[in-house]
């Protein structure tokens, strides 16, 4: 379809105008965020219940986690949230080149997060601090730390999966920005990617103190 002032290429045919399309996309992503909150929320509920039942186990077992690495990862993710917000702002003022750079930095920070995560996991596997029936480490006081590690691995694993997916989407946004698809007129896909990424950051903001800093 030929592009025109009233029918730009990115405007889908069933929308009346670009504003309706943009607001629909944003609302759609916010609703998706709602589903993610409930999805992870189930795990937070399991955490709350088991921690309330076994406060000593949680306290003892959490020492197996490296709080320094956890803190670094928290700061890495927060910074990546900042850079993606700045990327979107660059597009808002019609500067796609800096936007691309900010997106690359975001991607790099996300990769850093995953690398640190890899080292954490590798260390635990080495020691035998594994979920549930695979748990073999004997260095933690008290009984049954299995459930703590199960919760730890499921929560951080699922979060890590979301980081990976986010990385894929951010990369795709970089490609589209390079192709010149985005500018002040249209940057909605990057905006909703940002919303998703901020959610991933927010979940970690809660995971960090709950898992790494147990009293």
């Amino acid at each position: 379809m030929a592009e025109s002032a009233t029918h730009p290429q990115y405007l889908q045919h069933h929308f009346a105008d670009a504003v309706q399309q943009r607001e629909s996309s944003k609302l759609g992503m916010w609703i998706f965020i709602v589903t993610e909150v409930l999805f992870f929320g189930g795990l937070f509920a399991a955490y709350a219940i088991y921690r309330a039942w076994n406060p000593e186990i949680f306290h003892n077992a959490h020492t197996a986690l490296n709080w320094k690495l956890g803190a670094i990862n928290t700061m890495v993710l927060i910074t990546s949230s900042l850079t993606i917000a700045l990327a979107i702002r660059s597009l808002q003022v019609d500067r796609p080149k800096p936007a691309q750079h900010y997106l690359w930095v975001t991607l790099l920070l996300a990769a850093t997060f995953m690398v640190i995560k890899y080292f954490e996991y590798a260390h635990k596997f080495h020691l035998g601090e594994l979920p549930g029936k695979y748990y073999t480490y004997t260095g933690i006081e008290g009984t049954n730390p299995h459930v703590f590690f199960s919760i730890y691995f499921v929560m951080t694993g699922l979060h890590g999966l979301h980081v990976l997916v986010g990385m894929g989407v951010i990369f795709w946004m970089i490609l589209r920005t390079r192709r010149g698809e985005f500018g002040a007129q249209y940057y909605t896909p990057v905006e909703v990617t940002g919303l998703y990424w901020h959610l991933v950051d927010m979940i970690w903001i809660y995971l960090f103190p709950l898992l790494y800093l147990v009293g």
């Binding site: 889908q12 045919h13 069933h14 929308f15 309706q20 607001e23 629909s24 609302l27 759609g28 609703i31 998706f32 709602v34 589903t35 993610e36 409930l38 999805f39 992870f40 929320g41 189930g42 795990l43 509920a45 399991a46 219940i49 088991y50 076994n54 186990i57 979920p131 549930g132 029936k133 695979y134 009984t143 049954n144 299995h146 459930v147 199960s150 919760i151 691995f153 499921v154 699922l158």
Partner: protein
């Protein structure tokens, strides 16, 4: 005192959409032809109407499959002891009947078929907000269903459709994981449909149609969508934890490792109770449409019905513990849940009152859809009242896991949702295909369905009250007469559904051609689209001219 009409009813200024192209004299190309013929144009369509038809086909297959399992169950239970299946096989039968009917049939049914078709039309939109997501939802549905069906072939699950731990997580040797992966995938289909509908209703209404001028079908679909996006993710995480527990022994539901099996039940029912309102709310939306159209009356208490849909959606999240009264929950929890269960019945009751009052002094047309709607009023009321009975903690202690429960939920799900679905299908069939069905045979189908249903399930209230437990392969001799009667009823019910399906199927190609508004209804899909609708739904923009139920103000233009 009856209403006095202040002014004489007016005729709409909007012309009836032309079914015939004036230049060629042939019927205008509609969505069935426009957009291409051939399988590829259907499998890659972005048109919500075509996607609705795709869902219609696949969901019908699921209903048929789930129905076969139902008949096998009733066949086995005709007499005590083994008829055709042993106990292990029987466990698989009821598991599959439940899982297929719930996850593959009833939860998607009305939103995916009728919601997809009717929602954009009724709000005057050209499509849903995210057409590609809509198509993806269908593919996800098919993919998830294949997983579920594959699990049947591998080694059908025998845990009951509720997959309670610890049996499902440790002991059962059947293909629980493939089945639950299927459920997980199907959950996404439900979530994306809900997301799509919420954004569509918020953003794509035609100018002039404010929230309180929408048809009540839309309110029903909207409230359903809210539940879908809030509740289904919790099912997702529950099923994921179950799979991890079963595959990797993470121990979250295993007492030996510090876990708690009842926690599974909490998580499972946090979704599955709101899920039953996902099943009934769209049905209630349909009933509002049918009752008004076929009594030629404005709905009584529009605002109350709209708000009650939202109230049901929200309060439904507070009552899940009533499925767990005998699970070992704390005393305080069971009392809270029982009390809240009484609260959730109130909005449903308000709707039933309002529909009944709408009928009063109406000009009743006993069309086939109307008969289904009236059946709904009767059967859903029975289902709802028995729900209150078992929501009462002290009564449920005796009735839990008996046939009383089975009868209750079949009355609301089949007597409620399926009757509404049938009514909706017959109502909108002429709109979808441009063809009318054979009324005589449709009536035969309805009568057999109604009689067969009550034979099958009213009996089960009695069975349950007399102590017959559910999910039992055999039983004491004293229960045989009732079981036998119920089994005969189930086959009559099956024949009724089969006849109705044939009637609808035959109508697609051989029905008498129908006009744009054979019922003389006043919602936009009847007044401003052709039958079948053209690909982009409306000629130009849909015009909001009058309310959806303004039978006292507007003379509908009937076009048979």
């Amino acid at each position: 005192m009856s209403d006095t009409v202040a002014t004489a009813p007016i005729e709409s200024r909007i012309a009836v959409p032309k079914q015939i192209d004036p230049k060629t004299g042939l019927p205008r190309p509609n969505f069935l032809q426009d957009g291409g013929k051939g399988l590829k144009s259907w499998l890659f369509t972005l048109d919500h109407k075509r996607i609705a038809v795709l869902y219609l086909i696949t969901i019908s297959v699921a209903f048929f499959l789930g129905g076969i399992f139902a008949l096998l169950i009733r066949l086995e239970l005709f007499e005590p002891g083994k008829q055709f299946f042993n106990a292990e096989q029987y466990n698989k039968l009821f598991t599959l009947h439940g899982a297929i009917m719930i996850f593959l049939f009833i939860i998607p049914s009305i939103p995916a078929i009728l919601g997809n078709f009717v929602l954009p039309l009724q709000i005057g939109a050209k499509d849903v907000a995210f057409p590609r997501l809509n198509l993806a939802s269908w593919y996800i549905y098919v993919f998830g269903s294949l997983f579920a069906i594959a699990s049947i072939i591998i080694s059908a699950a025998d845990t009951g459709w509720t997959f309670y731990t610890p049996y499902s997580s440790s002991s059962s040797s059947t293909a629980v994981i493939p089945m639950t992966i299927g459920v997980f995938i199907l959950g996404f289909s439900s979530i994306f449909t809900g997301l799509n509908f919420i954004v569509t209703v918020h953003k794509l209404r035609t100018p002039g149609m404010t929230w309180f001028k929408m048809p009540l079908m839309i309110w029903g679909l909207y409230a359903t969508a809210i539940i879908q996006v809030l509740a289904t993710p919790v099912l997702g995480i529950t099923v994921l934890l179950l799979i991890l527990e079963r595959a990797f022994g993470i121990g979250i539901f295993d007492p030996a490792m510090g876990g708690d099996p009842v926690l599974y039940q909490h998580f499972f029912w946090f979704y599955s109770h709101p899920a039953v309102y996902i099943m009934i709310l769209p049905g209630m939306g349909i009933i509002s449409e049918l009752i008004t159209a076929f009594s030629r009356r404005k709905i009584f208490g529009y605002t109350f019905i709209a708000f009650s849909s939202m109230a049901i959606a929200l309060v439904s999240f507070l009552v899940w513990g009533h499925h767990m009264f005998v699970s070992g929950q704390s005393e305080i929890a069971v009392m809270i849940f029982s009390f809240l269960t009484f609260m959730v019945a109130i909005p449903s009751a308000i709707k039933v009152f309002n529909w009944t009052v709408t009928l009063y002094k109406g000009s009743i047309v006993f069309s086939v859809p109307m008969l289904y709607a009236l059946s709904f009023l009767f059967l859903f009321t029975i289902g709802g009242l028995t729900g209150l009975m078992i929501g009462t903690l002290s009564v449920d202690v005796h009735l839990h896991d008996t046939y009383f429960i089975v009868a209750h939920f079949h009355y609301v799900m089949v007597g409620g949702t399926v009757m509404a679905l049938m009514g909706g299908l017959f109502y909108w069939w002429p709109k979808i295909w441009g063809r009318m069905y054979n009324r005589t045979w449709a009536l035969v189908g309805w009568i057999l369905t109604f009689v067969g249903f009550n034979m099958t399930f009213f009996t089960q209230f009695i069975l349950g009250a007399r102590g017959m437990p559910r999910r039992y392969w055999t039983y004491l001799d004293q229960y045989q007469p009732l079981h036998g009667f119920s089994s005969v009823g189930s086959f009559i019910l099956g024949i009724g559904f089969l006849i109705s399906a044939i009637v609808l199927f035959v109508a697609v190609h051989h029905g008498r051609p129908a006009g744009s508004n054979p019922w003389g209804a006043l919602t936009l899909e009847w007044t401003q689209t052709t039958s079948p609708p053209v690909e982009h739904n409306f000629d130009g923009e849909a015009v909001y001219e009058h309310g959806p139920y303004d039978y006292d103000k507007v003379i509908p233009k009937v076009s048979i």
